[in-house]
Amino acid sequence: MSTRLANKGRLINTDKAVSFTFNGKHLRGFEGDTLASALLANDQMLVGRSFKYHRPRGVVASGAEEPNGLVNLGKGATFEPNQRVTTTVVFEGLTATSQNHWPSLEFDVGAINTHLSRFLPAGFYYKMFMYPRPFWKHVYEPIIRKSAGLGKAPKDRDQDTYEHFHAHVDVLIVGGGIAGLAAAHAAGERGARVLLVEQAAHWGGRAVVDTPEIDGVPAQDWVRTTVQSLESMENVELRLRCMGAGVYDHGYALAYERLTDHQPDADGPRHRLWRVRAKQIVTATGAIERPLSFAANDLPGVLLAAAVRDYVVNFGVSVGDRTVVVTNNDDAYRTAIVLKAAGLDVPAIVDARTEVAGDLIDQVRALGIRIELGKGIAKVKGGKRVTGVALCAQAGEGSVLEEIACDCVAMSGGWSPVVHLWSHCGGKLNWDADQAMFRPDPERAPTGADGAGFVMTAGTANGHLFTAEAVSDGWAAGRAAAKAAGHSKRGGQAPLGLDAAEGPISPVWLMPQGASHALRSKAWLDFQNDVKVSDVQLAAQEGFESVEHAKRYTTLGMATDQGKLSNINGLAILSQSLNAEIPNVGTTTFRPPYTPISMASIAGVARDELFQPIRKTPVSDWANANGADNEPVGQWRRPYAYIRDGEDVQQAVNREVKNARENLGLLDASTLGKLIVKGRDAGRFLDMMYTNMMSTLPVGKCRYGLMCTENGFLMDDGVVARMSEDTWLCHTTTGGAERIHGHMEDWLQCEWWDWKVYVANVTEQYAQIAVVGPNARKVLRKLGGMDVSAEALPFMQWADGKIGEFDARVFRISFSGELSYEIAVPAGQGAAFWYALLDAGAEFGVMPYGTEALHIMRAEKGFIMIGDETDGTVIPQDLNLQWALSKKKEDYLGKRAHSRSHMADPNRWKLVGLLTEDGSVLPDGAYAIADGKNENGQGNTQGRVTSTYYSPTLEKGIAMGLVHNGPDRMGEVIEFNKVDGSTVRAKIVDPVFYDKEGEKQNV
């Protein structure tokens, strides 16, 4: 059984016990325990069920590479699924539950799948659930979804906060093992600004467990003094619990700092996402031990050899009393030595190699541990945990030679450098056949903006598995990185490491070498996604020869651990099946993040009211307090209508329209874009920007203008006012202010840069209120100030002056068809001006109106709306706006395009009004049906609805639409489809439904 040993683990504080629960069971651990070590200390070997076959699974590893130990953590507002037990620190009150089982971890009905596994090979889902087609959506998927899946999605809002931080450094070092520390020291000494991040809560990586000598002292002492030295350097920043998550273009990197996961009651953000820009990045990310592939290698109690000794050394936890070590390299012998020193039994070391020699072998022999050379494991015995192993000849097919009782198997298939971050941004790898590993090719590093490499790699991540070369490599990388970042101060000395002599590894990809299908189909490669040796072989046999295809077909390496343990083993099996060399098969693509990071850390502060910027006008606060039912217009929120007690939206809209037509309406038009265009060539410039002539507009007058893109399509419209001889004010649509400003700057900066024109966006300088209706003039007169009479300020003119006590610019323009003034005041006076209009307007029946009333009134008048009548394919001619296309001008944006054959084609869909025969409101976007079918067998169409409303003024539905040759077909009745499949008949009419002569606005 797994239990706590008498020896004290390095990382735990046995004076401080903490209690936590696992599946409701109350358990105790110590401060410093991971959830994995604490569970093992309580003999909780079983931590979850596998994804596909629901096999019982235990902890395999001791770090971020753990594939099995994923649990639901927390409750309610702190609930989070898929948390790794090996990287979760226990704290008082932690609650964890296991995943992917029903009804319980111990008795899971899904485990039947394991008995059906021969019927569920790779690609099973693809093959089985293809037909009949509709069954996938309605039958297969719902059932599969129910029985599969890892953690549950949280139901409550996350109570924690998160943030980003932008850091710019000379050298980012990922990994705080001995190589990373040496690199940081070398770079720091040279004066570089250094950020060193380590995903674990402690410095030193593996060296502090295996305790080699560095600079004449044990590794842990060297680590301690080096960290102290780094802490004293002002230019070096050290971060624990901070994982280098991804490396991107031009030295961009993400690091994921877990600030309070281990102390959930602490203040401050839970996670911080570091958005790093580094001149150089050193990946000192270490190496991960590979499992060996033998039958039932997934039973709880089969662990990586290094993990077994981590639990003993770091946490004082023994996984089992009797551990069989199975290996193909010397490093695993360390586990046997550590176990023996802890007073535990090691009945045998099963070594696939036929010859071994070296310091570690000698030590093991001296301890009297039995070594079985040339042997392998035929099968691990046991149900929910290991009870023994059956030995066989590695060279054979699995005939059992002997069974050894044990409760733990420590396996080592060699080590794979963690090359993920090196590879994220294009770093290439070489296959090192001697060490049986992929390692970074320094000649093919990821390159940055200057074309030179910006990522270096160091230590075991660089394939240097021994202490001496790892620390010196780290130091050299730190020095080189600092130099590349412009810091070449001399000095310092590389640390010296001392290693035990080790013999070579012998690659073993399958145990035994000639394993039968029965054994291969129980030899797991990917524990998390339940992929076995036989699955990869099947994929190869079925023609999935590319490693990327085989990966997707089998799902090898596609689980949340991204194949940290399985990729190389799977690749080797694939290459053997294809009879190809490993480097010729290649690796799958490594993609960030290295291990999953929280979604919330990606969002940072962008949640709730900070989710996105909401733009406010000076009137917004009043509107929100007075019934505004807002609609988004870009990032603005504009009142759609102001709803009063007892009204629904439609009633409010109808009331607002009628009131503006009969009394007095106020519209907050502050969001309309306002661009000042000034300079000697401003008139000439605007003549290019607009389809109509703006250079001839007299000072003091306004003109409605259209803007087209170079390909002739309408992009914006608005009223242009001439301010002075060399200055124009251009109004844009609400969504157009920034876009049109950029568009103007684009042409000025990149095409006509010799023209003397400046543009300024003054949109937000003004609150702009439309005062609309028969009583508009009365309320302005009551407020007093400038002369707003028809004579002093006729239609389509503007003037500066005072309205009441307000500094005002008054435009006599109308988008409603009523007598209307649009009045701009400085935004700081905007709210007060709005109140003043409401006060003064009370006796004239004033009511604010929203965007829907605005839309209805303009539609009643047949005015187009950018975004309704236009969609990026509509030209002015389609909207009968030929009058706005200047014939006098030789050129304007879009003019050339209008003469392209399709644009000049008279057979286009053109704007008309539409009235249903029954007075109903046409569905928005409905198509007019034409005879026959097109080449795809779809019904032909002859037009579509672009705007449609109930008109409170006319008391029936009105619509505008684009209809084939529409203006030539006045009076014709055409049919429109409806969503329910029926149709509605509508007559083609003039699009101006109300006051065609303009008598109401021009008074």
């Binding site: 273009d249 031009h250 961009y252 390159t447 990149c750 050129d891 395009a897 054959s901």
Partner: protein, 104 residues
């Protein structure tokens, strides 16, 4: 995530401060141009794997448009330069020739 130096304000701008504006050095075709030339100008864009000249705008910064010479494959930046020019400056062309002999 690119970093490009804005030639107008000298800032090494993060890509999130910038806005891509498409291919550089297009020659505008106006009224009177042939259908073919006009089509070329409107629609026919290069999409090379390798050296490319682009327009960018320092949208969150000084608001200026500028040009960048960049390798679309390695993201090497050969230089950024003024928008008020009809072709890349010689020093940038030389730099590209040094890094990508035979480019065109």
């Amino acid at each position: 995530m690119l970093t490009l130096r804005c030639p107008y304000c000298g800032v090494d701008a993060d890509e999130t401060d910038l806005h891509g504006e498409g291919q550089a050095h297009l020659k505008r075709e106006g009224p009177g141009s042939s259908d073919e030339d006009f089509e070329d100008y409107l629609f026919m864009r290069e999409n090379p794997k390798g050296v490319h000249f682009e327009r960018w705008r320092h949208a969150y910064g000084c608001g200026k448009y500028f040009h960048a010479a960049r390798c679309t494959s390695t993201l090497q930046v050969f230089g950024t330069y003024s928008a008020q020019t009809l072709e890349p400056p010689q020093d940038i062309k030389d730099k590209i020739s040094g890094a990508r002999p035979g480019w065109s």
